[in-house]
Symmetry: C2
Subunit: 335 residues, 2 copies
Amino acid sequence: MATIKDVAKEAGVSIAAASLALNGKGSLSEETRAKIIETAERLNYKPNALAKGLVTSNKINTIGIIIPKPGTEFLPFVGMDILGGIGEVANEKKYNMLLDWEEGLGGTKVLDLVRSGIVRGLVFFLPLNDVTTFRALNDLNFPYVLMSRPPEGVYCSWVDVDNVDAAYQATVSLIKAGHTRISFSSPGPIEFLVSSDRHSGYRQALLSHNISYDESYVSIGNGDIQSGKAAMTHFLSLKEPPTALIAGSNLLAIGMLESLKEHGLDHRDKAIITFDDSPLAESYGISAIHIPTNTIAKESARLLIKRIGHTRRVEPENIVIDAQLIVRNTFVPVR
Amino acid sequence: MATIKDVAKEAGVSIAAASLALNGKGSLSEETRAKIIETAERLNYKPNALAKGLVTSNKINTIGIIIPKPGTEFLPFVGMDILGGIGEVANEKKYNMLLDWEEGLGGTKVLDLVRSGIVRGLVFFLPLNDVTTFRALNDLNFPYVLMSRPPEGVYCSWVDVDNVDAAYQATVSLIKAGHTRISFSSPGPIEFLVSSDRHSGYRQALLSHNISYDESYVSIGNGDIQSGKAAMTHFLSLKEPPTALIAGSNLLAIGMLESLKEHGLDHRDKAIITFDDSPLAESYGISAIHIPTNTIAKESARLLIKRIGHTRRVEPENIVIDAQLIVRNTFVPVR
DNA sequence: CTGAAAGCGCTTACAG
DNA sequence: CTGAAAGCGCTTACAG
């Protein structure tokens, strides 16, 4: 394969001139520059990225994408959506995408990758909750962006959806449809950040519409179908059951629907909105809060590349993206 | 970050000695070697992959994975499955994974990637039917493997499922269950390689069990739900309708099921087997031929890495993987 | 058993 | 406006 030496020789100039011309730098005569570029194209010359990277930043123009190991979580749709989003930005900015994941807890693959000089920055999806890795990256002043809020004690750049607002919007839409008895089911302890934000948005919506917050309308489970059934059974047993339900996960919502059926009711009897939108929610026709993963991915990539461009240490930045309510046939105005 | 120079100085040896020790080459005293390795660990030394790559193969230990642009085809599940499979092998062999796709027809990103020296080999999934790219790779003697049969006129290594055998097995299983009137619906012209192989397996199974091949039991559509309905309606109108049906796509099978319902029948009345297995087939409970994408991915990666190891030109290799019939509630013995 | 030197392909001050 | 030289971090013959 042609090297810059070949191009220089063929064009009858020095290697330095060739380099300058091909990078659009220095002050060469238009004539020489044109000749060099023409020669490079004719020889199918493409600069060796390794040599270039070695001499400039000591790194190659690559962003590393760290995801959970495929098959360990339910993320195929989200996963491809994210890769597509990051790829779009990466292509535009002439970066390559390197894909990787830790094999287990406490793995050092991410740090090894950084030390080896292959990547100029990292985007993390569903971070390993391994705070050490992030701390080490901070110490190295190495650019990275999380596609979610960071774990406790980590100060860094991130892009995430506004969960408070999402829950607020969902609740308000139910209130506007005439509901006043609205339940909230969390797939895990309210203390978890995501749940806590959503719960808070739910509560704010109620209060700002003068609806009193009622603990019996809040259920906490573990996010599976069984939990959804249990929640619905509990709510139906109340003297004044909720007329609308917010489910913290798709499986919760599906469990609720099934429980409705078992009680001789169906989706026309209760309004249900679920986090998050997914093909599952879609196929069940459940109204859902759509998390724009593709947008989050793109913004993360843009933010990362911007940070890579900075030579000095800069303060972390955060971007909050709006979620969007998708109304399907489980959204019923109160009768 | 520590370089080999730092390690050498700290350990009080020459750079060459350090390199030798860290790569387990040369003949150093056990003592020196141990001291060097200990020092490297203490300094968190990790060789700069670019410098190493530049001086050895002119390339970095990375395999490129070329997929269709995310979002353009229905492949999230398959896509993540493949990335997981390739990643498993890559990790094991200490290779990085670079992900990329062409933006449009006639793109040159793949070739540019190769010329830039970032990847040592490529795995293609659903190849762009851009024969030029493969020809160019062949000219460069650059290692690559297709995760499917190659397009006409391309001589290369590939890993794929045995479609003839898959259709044969599916048909035989129906025959063994007592069916003799078995239909075959193709999602596209029989001339297409995949369809042709499957049709051929179907036909062979019939013949080898002394069932005559009947053209009226074969339908050709375009693979969507509408086609499935049309096929079923046609088959039901026959004087002797088939008792078992092989559908060339999930949507075809779903269309068939819906048509059955419209005719007042259901899945207990006809045996249906579809290509390929997918969450869609699973959620509809349709018996399906499972294509082991994960295995194909792993075998492709292994084959590629093996080829990367060869310095001389070697003949392409092909690996054929068996498919597997998954029996669900649309598989009914004839009554 | 170990060190000095050349070189991988590039870029970038520095002279002229 | 252009060329000679140094250097990025590593490996690998080649001397000693």
